[in-house]
């Protein structure tokens, strides 16, 4: 298993895209921190960028990478190796290198300019979101044999999580504005890892006052240690469930 992970990581490092991604993150985060005089403000700008770019790159790159390594997978499956191990090694190699890219690109500037608990939280959330979207990419690719369809699905999923979901939530809130929805909104937010990450950071940045009564409910729930544990467990579930489903599916897949 270690050997396959090693091969995957070497292969990805040879790929220029991840390098470009790292450099892009590095340049944007450095410039964001240098443009704002207040590094907390810089963190806020960076948050929006990260929550947009990181899922996109993680899901698209992983999807394409898995499709392109179908030969490699086929070769490994005919060898005395367990299918589960092949798939998990691919996952660990891929998510490991994406997390590494995020850590170098965004993590180091955060640690330099804003080494506060909030900064660390953002670093953790960025890493978890990367892993989540790699896992979602694995679930997409195992379900579709066709490359174009798979990549299309990945883009749609990103669109859904990054943009459409918020629209849907707003729509529901307006439609049912006569009812007390604040608690429901807390539950709904768990359905989208990007939103969950955003809420966790925003609450720490004290801009939650702008979010009105819902913000207060959020603060009541996610502001406590219990809420924090629940939130991170939910994020972990977002990694484990798609990955687990994809493993089950891959075990039975015809190659």
């Amino acid at each position: 298993m270690k050997k396959i992970i090693k091969f995957v990581i070497i292969d990805i490092l040879r790929n220029k895209i991840v390098l470009v991604y790292t450099l892009f993150l590095l340049i944007t985060s450095l410039s964001v921190f240098n443009l704002e005089d207040n590094s907390a403000k810089g963190l806020l700008s960076l948050l929006n960028l990260i929550l947009f770019i990181v899922p996109l790159v993680s899901i698209i790159f992983s999807t394409i990478y898995i499709y392109n390594s179908s030969e490699f997978i086929e070769l490994l499956v005919s060898q005395p190796l367990q299918r589960k191990n092949i798939w998990l090694s691919l996952f660990f190699g891929l998510s490991g290198s994406m997390v590494m890219a995020f850590f170098i690109g965004a993590g180091i500037p955060i640690l330099i300019y804003e080494p506060s608990p909030t900064g660390l939280m953002m670093l953790a959330i960025g890493c978890i979101i990367t892993v989540i979207f790699v896992a979602i990419a694995f679930l997409t690719t195992v379900n579709t044999r066709d490359k174009a369809k798979g990549i299309g699905t990945a883009i749609l999923l990103w669109l859904y999580f990054a943009l459409l979901f918020d629209g849907l939530v707003l729509f529901i809130l307006f439609q049912f504005s006569d009812y007390p929805l604040e608690k429901v909104v807390v539950i709904i937010s768990a359905l989208n890892p990007i939103d969950l990450g955003r809420i966790l950071i925003l609450l720490r940045l004290d801009v939650s006052a702008l979010m009105g009564y819902t913000g207060a409910v959020f603060k009541d729930f996610f502001g406590t240690n219990m809420g924090l544990i629940v939130a991170f467990t939910t994020l972990l579930l977002w990694c484990v469930i798609p990955l687990g489903l994809s493993v089950i599916k891959f075990k039975k897949k015809d190659l």
């Binding site: 179908s70 367990q82 015809d254």
Partner: protein
């Protein structure tokens, strides 16, 4: 050695394997023949666990392969179209396979690697290779770990006559060592002097599985291709 019992596999509506049962033993060299799309490759892939049958069982050394994977270390597989990571060199592919299947008890068999002259090409990238050279790489990988069973899917397709002859010699030597060899091929005359048994498949069904001597005496033909042709004529009205 390999026992296939009532295996069925459908791809959508198409029945790729329809109730196939086969018994393959040590020291046999079996030719798996049949028209295109008759389920030969699907049968081979299900023996390797790459395709999961819908029903039926496959035993390898009396053990069910369904949830097993260790049995594959006794098999050398040469695919019909060898697909390898494109930006690895030949040397890297071999190093990778060696490190994956590392086992001190196995003596590596690099005869073919040298005979095909791949040692001189070892730093060429896979994407630059011709179809024939790819086939050579696949063949070398199949023989590399000295497996008890060799499964070769269209081994000579795309090879030049010299390479094809080298490969046939090699298959013959392995046969002498008492290994089970399964070959699929369209070109029947190539197999004449190699095979001991014939399995004929059509539309996912097993038509017959006979020793070659029986086949010859039944049809009265000495040439394998003619013997098969006369059987095909008999079965198709």
């Amino acid at each position: 050695m390999i026992t296939v019992t009532n295996v069925k596999k459908n791809f959508g509506k198409l029945a790729a394997l329809d109730n196939v049962s086969i018994q393959c033993n040590r020291r046999e060299c079996i030719a798996l023949i049949g028209p295109n799309g008759s389920g030969k490759t699907t049968l081979i892939k299900s023996m390797l666990g790459m395709v999961v049958p819908d029903s039926g069982t496959i035993l390898f050394n009396q053990k069910n392969i369904a949830h097993d994977w260790k049995y594959r270390k006794h098999i050398g597989y040469m695919p019909q179209i060898g697909r390898y990571p494109e930006n690895m060199t030949i040397g890297q592919v071999f190093d990778m396979m060696k490190s994956i299947r590392k086992d001190e008890s196995i003596q590596l068999d690099e005869e073919l690697y040298v005979e095909f002259g791949l040692d001189k090409l070892s730093d060429k990238r896979m994407q630059t290779l011709s179809g024939g050279t790819r086939q050579k790489v696949s063949a070398c990988l199949a023989f590399l770990f000295n497996p008890d069973v060799l499964i070769l899917d269209e081994p000579t397709a795309g090879l030049d006559p010299v390479a094809s002859e080298i490969l046939k010699e090699k298959i013959n030597r392995e046969k002498e060592k008492g290994k089970l060899i399964l070959i699929t091929s369209h070109i029947l005359s190539e197999l004449d002097d190699l095979v001991t048994h014939i399995i004929f498949m059509q539309d996912g069904k097993l038509k017959f599985h006979k020793p070659i001597d029986a086949l010859r005496s039944e049809t009265g033909e000495i040439k394998l291709s003619k013997a098969i042709a006369s059987i095909m004529l008999k079965t198709t009205p």
